[in-house]
């Protein structure tokens, strides 16, 4: 019997599905999340998958969050335990007072349960087997049957799920009706045999608004379509492969000439990352917008070419969907651990532009902007996503595009300009911003051609290893990087309600957890100003923010506090004033974690919480 009162909450709880990979549960689980969205209640789902191999465990977690907290919360209120292999761990992970949902066809001995949770058994296999004979059907419909049972337990409107099934199987009437039938099998069984609803409930609300539900990788790929990328070269690696796959799908939809059916793009699956970035550099050298998508190990392989892009000044866009390293690390776990590797990629003195989108909407915007930046700055631009945004659906504001927008093709000297007698020196700093003019191959019969190389050369692209010539070039590259500061997305600052000496810096996918953590910290009486960094090089407002606060926490998802290192390195500030808050176990950072880490540090500093006056 329960030691603890069962949890009760409306529109604010976490359900986790524990499944076996290959059981076809993914679409039922995703439908569960979407069904809640259709109730007008925000959700934040996460895939947790140790590997993509058949038979291994996978989890799918849905945070139901009327308040719209889109970061991971931590803890599980209801476990849908469909995987015997992970049973013990799954049962142990349930919050006190939580619920365990399981297939009771073969009832578990009570020793396999806990006293402080509510156990809900539904004989899923028995129901399925008595209805279906085909083994695959049995497996697939079992998922829909538990979805039906959950809808009754959580008080969900079955019509909304039916609608989703209808959309999914549009035009496939047989599949549609059989899925709806399975849904009701589960629902009716639960209504007749269990006490429905339980303490966790879904109630219709209006908190979703016009927000959309999309994966970061898909949004970034769409950004590449809108940003005018015509060449994509890639090599499969989790969690980035779906960028190229989504780019292919978007291009098929939007980029075929209606008359000829021909493609206004070229996608090549390279033989490796070396070839992929080589193709990108060749295409960009020749004036096309090109990109690759990869993850940490791919970045390692690309670094020689990244140095060429930097020094020979050729645009390139690399989308790095970060996963846990070093080496193969935890390939299906999230981290923000390639900051230093990307910022200073390659040998010699290099610096590269990094963009840090916080969600799919920004992934879309920044991806499109990356092509403008790459051509404007004639260098590599890294779009730094991570598995947490890349491979999960997120609620975000609708994607927007300004139709009057033209692409910024950067400083390209045309045949007409050359005809008019404009002095062309490939590496001449004509405008004092460090950015030289380039010409595309084939521009003019006698003017504007030059030889591109990764070897030192003078302002007119003539091979030279003279020290002063080399240094002149390297200094111009620094000037160019300074110019970049004002072209990249600026940091966004949000101040605490009351003036404070404490600040926090964060970036990328940490954003929703940070927003929520601020509320938790305020409840503990801690006021913090926030600065969300959106790009490297750092805008001058980063230095100002640091100057204005005694201590600044830097929250990130890697062991070595890499963003902090970069800030210290680039801003020359006393590291003592930058407090690292790091989370790197491969799971997404949570508000609870941030609030505890910062709160404990504040306590340790003996910061007196500014409590509200008690009347």
């Amino acid at each position: 019997m329960s030691d603890k009162k069962p949890l009760s909450s409306v529109n604010d709880f976490v359900v986790r599905f524990a499944n076996v990979n290959g059981s076809g549960s993914a679409s039922a689980n995703e439908m569960f999340a979407r069904a809640i969205l259709r109730h007008g209640v925000p959700v934040s789902p996460r895939n947790i998958f140790p590997s993509n191999i058949q038979g291994l465990p996978t989890w799918y977690e849905v945070r139901v969050t009327e308040d719209g907290h889109l970061g991971a919360r931590g803890g599980v209120d209801m476990m849908v335990a469909m995987n015997p292999q992970t049973w013990d761990k799954d049962v142990a992970g349930i919050e006190p007072g939580g619920y365990l949902f399981y297939d009771s066809t073969k009832p578990m001995p009570s020793t396999k349960f806990r006293d402080d949770i509510t156990v809900i058994g539904v004989p899923l296999t028995a129901i399925t087997n008595s209805t279906y004979t085909d083994p695959r059907q049995r497996q697939l419909f079992k998922n829909i049957i538990y979805l039906g049972a959950l809808s009754a337990l959580l008080d969900m409107d079955p019509k909304l799920i039916e609608q989703l099934i209808g959309e999914q199987y549009k035009g496939k009437e047989k599949l549609l009706s059989s899925n709806v039938h399975a849904l009701h099998l589960g629902r009716d069984w639960a209504l007749q045999n269990l006490k429905c609803p339980i303490g966790l409930r879904v109630k219709k609300s209006d908190k979703v608004g016009d927000r959309i539900f999309i994966e970061g990788n898909s949004a970034a790929a769409l950004g590449a379509v809108y940003g005018g990328a015509t060449v994509c070269a890639w090599y499969p690696i989790t969690p980035s492969s779906s960028v190229a796959e989504a780019f292919t799908a978007h291009c098929k939809k939007y980029r075929h000439d209606p008359e000829t059916g021909k493609a206004k793009y070229a996608i090549v699956q390279g033989e490796d990352e070396l070839a992929s970035i080589g193709i990108v550099i060749g295409a960009s050298w020749n004036g096309a917008r090109a990109f690759t998508a990869t993850s940490g190990p791919g970045i390692s392989l690309m670094t020689e070419f990244i140095g060429l892009s930097y020094f020979a000044e050729i645009p390139a866009v690399i989308m790095n969907i970060q996963r846990a390293g070093p080496s193969t690390g935890m390939p299906t776990r999230t981290q923000q651990c390639d900051i230093i590797a990307c910022a200073y990629a390659s040998h010699g003195d290099t610096k590269h532009v990094l963009l840090f989108p916080e969600d799919p909407a920004e992934a879309f915007e920044f991806a499109a902007a990356a092509f403008d930046l790459a051509e404007r700055l004639q260098t590599t631009i890294f779009l730094m996503l991570d598995l947490d945004i890349g491979m999960n659906h997120r609620l975000c504001r609708p994607l927007k595009w300004d139709d009057s927008k033209q692409y910024d093709r950067g400083k390209v000297m045309t045949a007409e300009m050359l005809e008019q007698g404009r002095d062309f020196g490939r590496y001449l700093d004509v405008d004092g911003d460090g950015i030289p003019y380039r010409t595309y191959p084939g521009t003019h019969p006698t003017k504007g051609s030059y030889f591109t190389r990764g070897t030192s050369r003078d302002r007119y692209a003539r091979y030279s290893e003279e020290g002063s010539v080399y240094a002149d070039n390297m200094q111009r590259l620094v000037r160019k990087f300074e110019t970049a500061q004002d072209l990249v997305p600026r940091p966004l600052q949000a101040n605490a309600e009351r003036p404070t000496k404490y600040g926090v810096i964060y970036f990328g996918s940490t954003s929703p957890a940070m927003d929520e953590a601020i509320g938790l910290l305020e409840a503990r009486g801690h006021q913090l100003d926030r600065l969300r960094i959106r790009a490297f090089p750092f805008h001058s407002s980063v230095a100002s923010f640091l100057a204005e606060h005694d201590f600044v926490y830097v929250v990130e998802q890697n062991r070595d506090s890499q963003l902090r290192q970069l800030i210290v390195n680039e801003n020359g500030i006393d590291p003592v004033r930058l407090v690292p808050i790091v989370h790197y176990d491969g799971t997404p950072i949570t508000a609870r974690f941030i609030a505890k880490a910062i709160g404990d540090h504040q306590d340790h500093l003996k910061v007196t919480p500014l409590r509200k006056a008690v009347s």
Binding site: L37, V208, D210, R211, I212, F213, I214, V225, Y226, G228, T230, V231, Y254, K262, A263, K264, Y265, A266, V268, E271, L274, A275, S276, G278, I279, I281, G282, A283, S284, W285, N286, G287, A288, A290, E304, F305, L308, P398, L399, K400, W401, K405, Q406, Y407, T439, Y440, P441, G442, P445, T446, S449, F451, T452, R453, G454, D458, R462, Y463, S464, E466
Partner: protein
């Protein structure tokens, strides 16, 4: 300055080609390679072939890796863009460049170290993709630029300048190119301009992946007795299957031919290759036959040269990818961007 430009001045009486360009218009900077290096002869052959074909020099993109051979694009077609990339990676950069603008002529220049060692993968994959290019390997069996180490094309048993014997098997790039589906495969010798010039011209006219392996002795590190890539050795073991002549609707290139049968191959671009067969039984349309022929002669220590295989109906990567005829690098937002209306629809479908 550490570069040497050629003076622009030239004799007013120089012969002009159909476009009115003189030979000088196809030259580049003065070579900084060792005097007598085979690579310089290949440069001269490229210049000659482009002049004869009346190519607009600026419509050629010259792309190379790293090595003495890869430096040569600076020494020809001074009015075209060149790109000295990184070691072994010319093929990927060329592939990307070609995807961006299908209207230019792509000339890839590489060394045997560049293509058979570090860049073996990229060499193979650019060929199997059918990138429309002329891929020339200047094959000297050694690393010239890093001073004489064996490369992967050095024959087993051949000796280095220091007397060391190579114990590894050699990679025959021609055999590999045939196996990978190159649609134009040839081997030649830098010392045989008569054979090499029309081969380069025909390769440029070929639509698809053209590969020419040119044995190009390194006089500094690999031109001694015991080397199988020395001038003397190649002259003694050269066995030409054919000599050719390229007709581009104009005068044929004037070269000497040994008597034999003549076979005319018409290519996609309308150019015609007249093949004077020295080995009357040799059929350059038979990929399998070419592979067997090559292997048989290699076993006898003979170096087979000439046009070994051609598929006149070949197509290229753009055809495989079904890309538009307009170069991708000229497309702008109006044709590339689906616009806000499409985005609104998409947003609606994502709720």
């Amino acid at each position: 300055m550490t570069y040497i430009a050629k003076p622009k001045f030239h004799h007013p009486g120089l012969k002009k080609n159909e476009l009115g360009y003189t030979h000088r218009d196809y030259e580049g900077k003065i070579s900084t390679l060792c005097a007598g290096c085979g690579h310089d002869s290949i440069t001269a052959s490229i210049i000659e072939a482009c002049y004869e074909l009346s190519i607009e020099p600026h419509r050629v993109a010259k792309i190379s890796g790293i090595g003495c051979s890869s430096k040569t694009p600076d020494y020809f077609l001074g009015n075209s863009h060149g790109f000295n990339t990184v070691h072994g990676r010319m093929p990927s950069v060329l592939t990307g460049a070609n995807l961006a603008n299908r209207d230019l002529i792509y000339l890839g220049v590489s060394g045997d170290g560049d293509s058979a060692s570090i860049g073996f993968g990229q060499f193979a994959h650019s060929i199997r993709r059918g990138v429309n290019m002329t891929y020339i390997v200047e094959n000297n069996g050694v690393y010239g630029l890093t001073k004489g180490q064996f490369s992967a094309t050095a024959d087993r048993g051949s000796k280095s300048k220091k007397g060391v014997t190579n114990t590894d098997n050699a990679i025959d790039l021609v055999a590999i190119a045939l196996q990978l589906g190159a649609t134009f495969v040839a081997r030649s010798f830098s010392g045989d301009k008569t054979q090499l010039v029309p081969l380069i011209a025909a390769a440029i006219g070929h639509k698809g992946a053209s590969f020419i392996d040119v044995i190009s002795p390194c006089i500094a590190f690999n031109n001694h007795a015991g080397s199988t890539k020395s001038f003397d050795y190649v002259r003694e073991h050269n066995d030409a299957v054919n000599r050719l002549d390229v007709l581009v609707g104009r005068d044929p290139i004037a070269v000497d031919y040994a008597p034999g049968t003549v076979q005319v191959v018409e290519q996609h671009d309308g150019s015609k290759i007249a093949l004077r067969k020295i080995d009357a039984d040799y059929d350059p349309h038979d990929r399998l036959g070419a592979q067997a022929f090559l292997a048989k002669h290699a076993a006898k220590g003979q170096i087979v040269t000439g046009l070994l295989y051609v598929d006149p109906d070949a197509d290229d990567l753009h055809a495989h990818l079904n890309t538009v005829e307009t170069p991708l690098n000229t497309l702008e937002a109006d044709t590339l961007c689906p616009g806000s209306a499409a985005l609104d629809k998409l947003n609606a479908s994502l709720r």
